[in-house]
Subunit: 436 residues, 4 copies
Amino acid sequence: MPIPYYRAVEIARRLSKGNEVSALRELLEPKPVESEQPPSVLPGDRHSRADGRARRLEFLEERCGPLPYLSGRGEEVDPEDLAGNIENYIGMACIPTGAIGPLRINGLHANGDYYVPLATSEGALVASYSRGARLITLAGGAAAITTVEQVQRAPGFRFATMAEGIQFAAWAVGEFESLQEVAASRTRHGRLVDMRVQLQANMVFLIFDFHTGDAAGQNMVTFCTTAICHHLVEHTPVPIEHWVIESNMSGDKKGTSLSFFDTRGRHATAEVVIPRALVQSRLRATPEQIAGYWRMSLIGGVQTGSIGVSGHVANAITALFLACGQDVACVSEASVALNRMEVTETGDFYASVTLPNLILGTVGGGTRLPTATECLRILDCLGDGGAPRLAEITASLALAGEVSIAAAICSGEFSRAHAQLGRPPGATHDGSDNGG
Amino acid sequence: MPIPYYRAVEIARRLSKGNEVSALRELLEPKPVESEQPPSVLPGDRHSRADGRARRLEFLEERCGPLPYLSGRGEEVDPEDLAGNIENYIGMACIPTGAIGPLRINGLHANGDYYVPLATSEGALVASYSRGARLITLAGGAAAITTVEQVQRAPGFRFATMAEGIQFAAWAVGEFESLQEVAASRTRHGRLVDMRVQLQANMVFLIFDFHTGDAAGQNMVTFCTTAICHHLVEHTPVPIEHWVIESNMSGDKKGTSLSFFDTRGRHATAEVVIPRALVQSRLRATPEQIAGYWRMSLIGGVQTGSIGVSGHVANAITALFLACGQDVACVSEASVALNRMEVTETGDFYASVTLPNLILGTVGGGTRLPTATECLRILDCLGDGGAPRLAEITASLALAGEVSIAAAICSGEFSRAHAQLGRPPGATHDGSDNGG
Amino acid sequence: MPIPYYRAVEIARRLSKGNEVSALRELLEPKPVESEQPPSVLPGDRHSRADGRARRLEFLEERCGPLPYLSGRGEEVDPEDLAGNIENYIGMACIPTGAIGPLRINGLHANGDYYVPLATSEGALVASYSRGARLITLAGGAAAITTVEQVQRAPGFRFATMAEGIQFAAWAVGEFESLQEVAASRTRHGRLVDMRVQLQANMVFLIFDFHTGDAAGQNMVTFCTTAICHHLVEHTPVPIEHWVIESNMSGDKKGTSLSFFDTRGRHATAEVVIPRALVQSRLRATPEQIAGYWRMSLIGGVQTGSIGVSGHVANAITALFLACGQDVACVSEASVALNRMEVTETGDFYASVTLPNLILGTVGGGTRLPTATECLRILDCLGDGGAPRLAEITASLALAGEVSIAAAICSGEFSRAHAQLGRPPGATHDGSDNGG
Amino acid sequence: MPIPYYRAVEIARRLSKGNEVSALRELLEPKPVESEQPPSVLPGDRHSRADGRARRLEFLEERCGPLPYLSGRGEEVDPEDLAGNIENYIGMACIPTGAIGPLRINGLHANGDYYVPLATSEGALVASYSRGARLITLAGGAAAITTVEQVQRAPGFRFATMAEGIQFAAWAVGEFESLQEVAASRTRHGRLVDMRVQLQANMVFLIFDFHTGDAAGQNMVTFCTTAICHHLVEHTPVPIEHWVIESNMSGDKKGTSLSFFDTRGRHATAEVVIPRALVQSRLRATPEQIAGYWRMSLIGGVQTGSIGVSGHVANAITALFLACGQDVACVSEASVALNRMEVTETGDFYASVTLPNLILGTVGGGTRLPTATECLRILDCLGDGGAPRLAEITASLALAGEVSIAAAICSGEFSRAHAQLGRPPGATHDGSDNGG
């Protein structure tokens, strides 16, 4: 986003699946805990002792089946099975994984109470998200939706002159339907949904937008765009001096203003209204204080020249991506976000997070690795249809973290939490002794 | 950077350790393989079979001691030992890890031939870095240096009026030495090295720059800044309406233009000159072609409004951070980079990568986790003195990847590599069938 | 740009006016001075003496009719005639105006040899542009083209919840054709050509793109969008909590990354290839030196976090806008640009400038002021059909300045020119004595 | 800003001139109209008829002496007197100029009630600023202050290797005092106040910050930096391959994130608290509505990737610069701003504008042109000591405009004002008929 109106029309049609768009409103409404009791809080909260771990695993296995690899009971993976994921394999890097929940989500694709696995080595992180999730759940859950879904490849073409570039561009845009067919011949899961052209003097950049099904899609769009380029190179009416499959306009593996507007991956938003009383009792701050902090953080962010402005959504995305076999290098782009925190007219607290660059998938890539498969199963996101659900969970999780950190900063607990939870066993009270 | 001259004078003194700065030149010079033979290439290259893994592990264990956890022989970690790293522990997320090398680095802190562990689930990634490392080594190695080292916390203070804010700011800057003492009382490893002030109408933002020793330092700077704020709040000559420990000006967990200039974490650069013949034989492209591609990629990047411009340094940083127990959420900021590729006056190929936001550490945080400890040992970066070395290795590794991908894009191999290495066993030739 | 393919198809059709796009190539080709002799250089070059002025005026009046107001012979303007341009009128601010030329332009809309009036008080500016224009003309002229033309208004709507926002957005995009009719009822010259939607949690931003004929168009788009908003507010299927005609997403009066990609106003590009011999003899620098400088300036620009990267195009735009009655406040957005300077494969010098945010018009606004009318007549741009021509002239002029300053910086003449031409009469050789 | 603490200490000393900084508070306090009656509103408000003009001129001439050129009574300027401002002179471009006032400013340098000349051809602009100025004055005036003052030049140096670049940089920073002397030998009015260094692989960028007295200073810093570069080139301990006086890191003539933080020109801020009753009666909107609009405009701005976020400060700066002989091309950088609008705890309305890139001067350049001299005299800003005063007036004027437009947008008057005042005499009600 911003997307052209005709794309928006299509997307609205896809999301409403033939129903009235107004039906969405019911799905996204809060579901008060008074009327719909959430399931139990994950047992053994915050403890890292062996018995707590066992109780949590037992609880999760009852809900979603066996988790042998997380439990440490799985057989060692045969390196041959890792072909396609790694070369020069020497072993597994193991990252501690905790879980939180339930996190109530009232989404189009994710709708229910979720337990969320988070992989990290940063103390206090899981606890902070746990607190935010609890609060959101007590408030009736986060509304969440995934709308635009598209992944880009952006080849570049250089010509002797601008005039030749224009002739090429004018021809190429007329080929759109042919290029859709070329793409369709290379993939069953993806679809070329749009094509944009940027004329830069004697260079022409084409930006291809693909819907990539439930895959993250970077390889899919590379293969399709390669085929498209070969078609263009073969049929071009003017000589191309030089071309490349990727001109650095796709935004792959980096935060860019262009992706921030236009959606790269999936565009997901979550919002919540938390009653004033709940904010004050649970967060030890008023809605006004948190909203005041948010305005300062926005001014702070604008002054630094960041792309988008938010708190620490990178933490949510990284921990979830790591647990779920996602391409964690995409944190560079996926962590670009915009949060908002306001006081409603009724004096309650409104918060939202928008994540327009969620490159993620639930098929292919690292999702078939043993612990990733188990984590995706905990989230009910494994396989076909899982990707937009995972996107809505990610946005809701990020929202939990934004609310939690903002409140901690307002109430002076930010430093305290890290002092208590960010130390190794036996550390003294001197914060620096752990070198952290 | 850009840093004020007086800070630069200090840094030059620290880097040269009392010697002439000119002595650096010898350290950073290429070391031709003809005169200094590199050690063997890591055996079993590219194969993911069990025997290849065993040979690689044996080779690495000979050089740096036992690697029981990477080998799968380690005992399961006691959850209690994970306190300080995780809450609500359920198990380990396991990420496949490969290794490349040797990568010759002629750095101030990293100087020698390194084998580098990389954790990822993205096929073709390790192979691409391996190719780049090979080329750099054959060219005599990458020059690398870590210069500025500083981590920020940026509290914000709001006053009734701008006039009161100015009075506060004028007072606070005069307190710098007292604040250094306050900070020193909270940490033995860190040091408050600079303080900057930003007046924003009735808000005052203070940016504190800390040297954090070999720690990544986010907790250290939080604790110190908390103490500093309490000092300021106690002694302020004017009433503060509202203050927060972090105003979102520190750049924590996000890419910002401010951090891109000013260094957040460590500022590391690597460069290499690769003889034309080597480029042509190994990369199947000419220096002119790659430099032409670089210019297009720079124009592409500028058009997208990215912060800095580079190729895929996020891949290098993520894979190395994951292997080495770093805070991977920092990829959001650490992946901001600037690369350059040019033809030298002698027709050879010049490339460099500058990484000004490398938040990393070799003590504390996730570095004490079993597989992280082993990976840091492979790199000779574990513990005190390791952090600037790890920064120079990261920059050199990123350089290997930038050169490799640029050449792949120029020679048309980009798509081919992913088609060959980015598929699971048994996948068909239709790129999309793995959903990736 | 980047624009969607279907818009590009339309634009290609508009530009080629039913002809083959390939016909453009002939129009844009260089016209060597050997075969097409340019008209005389504007007489009295560089002198500010009265006789030089008289000769220049006589020369220009012969070509384009009487210029009484520039000549100082015009009657004082009746304040009543200024209604629509100024309130609380006290008099005229007078800005010195020089002229350069001929500047040969091989454009789609501007095609021929142009004399260009420039209003400024910065010494050396006119001389620098004159030098660049001379060089471009000797090289056969600049190819120039205006492609995308659109001006935005971007109202914002806030809803109680995101769900209601989505319902509104889904409805609004389906209304596009009705909204086109609403717009058409408010203007005879403008046309609503596209509509984009940005969902931001419970806010919905609509970006309307208008073609505004030969007007700059800010008022036109405001009036049309007001009518559109009233239509939306009247028919909306969900209650709107709050709405505004401009949400700050249009980019009005500020440089933005979004406008830099997407075109705000007119998107114009000019390029030139200058033979190596001409560069060396006229600019006292080699193509390689200037291209090397350009690369450094691009790296410099990227490091500062500018939007686009160029030299001093603001000077060209401001001086031309001032002379021609444009809204000079638009320099804030119009000066966002991207330049390129390279060595061609034949060793010649390639340069281009792309200006994607040229808010300008040749009807309405300040264009009917006496001296503005005369300056527009000098350029053959007054009235209908003039706007795309003025855009191509602006781009070609900017190109002349970029080439001239780059060469001056390379040859060490940058400082010298200012020392010679940037001083008042009688100033000493101490550069600072004029306080400038 | 953000500036290092030691610079801030110096600046605080300069601003307080030996007094307590707390004395500033009295200067900046509101001066209620009840206790200090403002002078008359400029007569003939809004009318553009000849008699209104005459009355306004008479009023202004009584206060600040004869204004022959604005009145149209001045003799034609001798072209020879324009040497240093223009080459190839053909005549004067004349821009309609209105005036508003009084605007009450409680500043450090500007303190009193000001009448402000504004040159523009955009109808409704002067009226909008007039309304804002009236409101600020009724609220007791705007607090305003100019703090940091510095103009940059940023030469770039390229070396064969990074190691040589580092050696050069380490040497150059140690030369700071010598370079100050070199600069001092070239100017009596300027002073080299800081020097920053940016290492970019084998390139070294030096950013020199100069205090330029009351001059805009671009030429001054060019001449001084030229001398500095010659000193560096002569004494460098390592060979420089290539160097240029300006590497595009100074931010000259373009908006950049770096200048936005760091101050380029003068950093000026104005703020005002307007009682709720005054807002509601004069602006027909509540503080809450305007603050709500501001938040949406900030979100809008962040989404577009602008540098800073504000409304239309470019209008204020351009109209004032044009009237006062400033380098209007600097609008490209000077219009980068940050505004804020909030509801105070007492329910009143708080607004501020920060302008960190005000390149302006009151000596040299265009300030000696006849109408510019008169406009500067109206503002009591002509000559020595005038520049910081002009900066504070500019910020206060910009504030008046931000408040006025925000209120107009909230109350639905934005479109109406343009429909009434943005049309030429005799225009019909169809907004587009004037083509504007």
